[in-house]
């Protein structure tokens, strides 16, 4: 199999590699009776799995998940939306930041089943077709990243920071972006990008 772009083939490899063990793991869970999910008033259950309806970037997805699956794992491993990153996986770094009903949250500390009924927006849902969101464009223009791993979380957090009205000054931006760590240290350019984007966002 040849692929014209190295990026696409890597992504394809990752999605193929990730899905196989997951299916096996899920089956073992059901057969072993480990997932002791019960019938509830609020979420449908099927065997050891929970039926979860997730609305992500305007699309509705129906998934059968172990209740332990976090939102970030549902996005990445089950929906193939790998833009959202796992950093610390303990709510300390902000790489997994998404919007839930318009509000920025940490998808690594959110159970997927608890996100049912909410509108989730990830980095893949921010652009308008081929036109980047003003915050994405500003990050590019201001070189507001180095390795780029924290960038999707930074951008989702930055959009929310502006919408909340917490981008009034450099100091306020720093305070209200403190939940997103950048170990390359691109903070100076991130602040510049947010200052730039906030005017274009009409804030």
């Amino acid at each position: 199999m040849t692929n014209p772009t190295p990026g696409a083939s890597r992504r394809e490899f990752l999605s193929t590699a990730a899905s196989a063990p997951l299916v096996a793991g899920a089956a073992a869970g059901v057969l072993g009776g480990e997932a002791r999910a019960q019938t509830t008033t609020g979420a449908a259950m099927a065997g050891g799995q929970v039926l979860v309806t997730l609305k992500v970037n305007g699309q509705t997805h129906r998934l059968s998940l172990d209740p332990r699956v976090t939102l970030v794992d549902a996005l990445r491993e089950h929906l193939g939306l790998t833009g959202t990153k796992v950093g610390c996986n303990h709510g300390q770094c902000g790489a997994c930041t998404v919007h839930k009903d318009g509000v920025r949250v940490l998808s690594c500390l959110t159970l997927a089943v608890a996100a049912e009924g909410s509108e989730i927006t990830t980095i893949e849902g921010l652009a308008d077709g081929d036109e980047l969101h003003p915050m994405q464009a500003a990050f590019v223009q201001h070189d507001a990243y180095q390795c780029g791993y924290c960038t999707p979380g930074q951008i989702l957090s930055a959009v929310a920071c502006v919408k909340e009205g917490h981008a009034g000054s450099d100091a306020e931006i720093r305070e209200y972006m403190s939940g997103n760590l950048c170990r390359c240290g691109a903070y100076v350019n991130i602040v510049a990008a947010i200052n730039d984007a906030k005017t274009k966002m009409g804030a």
């Binding site: 709510g91 500390l109 089943v113 305070e175 939940g179």
Partner: protein, 327 residues
């Protein structure tokens, strides 16, 4: 995480019934629960998701109290106009805590029950009386820079890490709780338990009992209040020392005062003796420092946290002088 059953009741009544099952615990924002479940520190067999329950997400004023629904998000309370104008310490303790994302998730009911950040509690390869009763404490004699100097015991020196509860401790606060046994009200000072011989018991709630409201009695102390927090980095860090200070002044003289201490004690700490010593005194940096010294008079320090005593004293001074500017 170990497997668990998950239930999402639609009403508080259903939630209370679901919580009556053995080992069932409530989850709302999940910021503490999921973190500690991933670390295998908490292993609940059943989660009852109360995050979407109706009727517990409002902040309301009654004639004599400000009443917080247990499911109000930290961020929403921090921005509430009533808190900003009449109880700034309660707003500041919220927005100086955690990160914007966590404040959007975490609820007030869960926030006051936040577990310690003691690294030995969070790592199952160490001994911890709080996690495994009777196993020992690796913090005593270990790296204990972040640990408490007030209200500790021979079995546990972990500090209470939260901020909002420290501000609540400075006011007359109660929590309403409900279980299958019915409703009851708990004085905030009785909610958190000092470690003593049973550090595994961190709060006074019974199995299956859940907080529904936090009530702060209205007081003129609210206006001239502040929450002063000192930490290793400027934002998104737990307090090394923090002080909630609230004042009613008569000219230069302290008519009434409250002091809550955080980051330095096993539970949200009220410094009553320090308050009593200030009443009727002129408030100057010198009298404020004496109050701080009184607050830490009984401090017991360990290998790496002795710095918290002078730091705590200075934090009391800063908080009191800052609150005075609002009087």
């Amino acid at each position: 995480m170990l497997p668990f059953a998950y239930e999402k009741p639609k009403s508080l009544d259903d939630a209370v019934k679901a919580l009556a099952d053995e080992g069932a615990v409530p989850i709302a924002g999940g910021t503490t629960m999921i973190d500690l479940m991933k670390l295998y520190v908490l292993q609940p067999p059943k989660l009852v998701d109360i995050g979407g329950l109706p009727g517990l997400g409002e902040i309301e004023e009654t004639d004599d109290a400000v009443v917080f629904g247990a499911l109000v998000r930290m961020a929403d309370a921090a921005e509430h106009p009533l808190l900003k104008s009449d109880y700034p310490a309660l707003s500041e303790a919220l927005w100086l805590a955690a990160s914007p994302q966590i404040r959007n998730m975490a609820t007030l009911g869960g926030n006051v029950l936040q577990r310690t950040r003691c690294p030995y509690f969070r790592d199952t390869s160490y001994r911890c009386n709080r996690r495994v009763p009777g196993s020992g404490c690796d913090a005593i004699g270990g790296i204990n820079r972040l640990h408490a100097v007030l209200g500790t015991s021979e079995t546990c020196i972990a500090s209470y890490p939260g901020d909002w509860a420290v501000a609540l401790a400075a006011f007359d606060t109660e929590v309403d709780a409900v279980s299958r046994a019915g409703k009851r009200t708990i004085a905030f000072a009785d909610l958190h338990l000092r470690p003593d011989d049973h550090p595994e018991r961190v709060h006074a709630l019974k199995e299956g009992e859940v907080i529904t409201h936090v009530r702060v009695k209205k007081t003129p102390l609210g206006k001239a209040s502040t929450y002063y927090k000192v930490r290793d980095r400027e934002s998104y860090a737990f307090a090394l020392a923090s002080v909630a200070a609230a004042l009613v002044m008569d000219g230069e003289t302290v008519k009434d005062v409250r002091l809550g201490l955080g980051g330095v004690a096993s539970v949200p700490w009220r410094a009553r003796e320090a308050e009593d010593g200030l009443k009727g005194q002129e408030l100057t940096p010198e009298t404020a420092r004496r109050a701080g010294e009184t607050a830490f008079r009984d401090a017991r320090t360990y290998d790496h946290n002795a710095f918290k005593v002078p730091l705590g004293v200075e934090t009391v001074v800063e908080a009191l002088m800052s609150a005075k500017t609002r009087a």
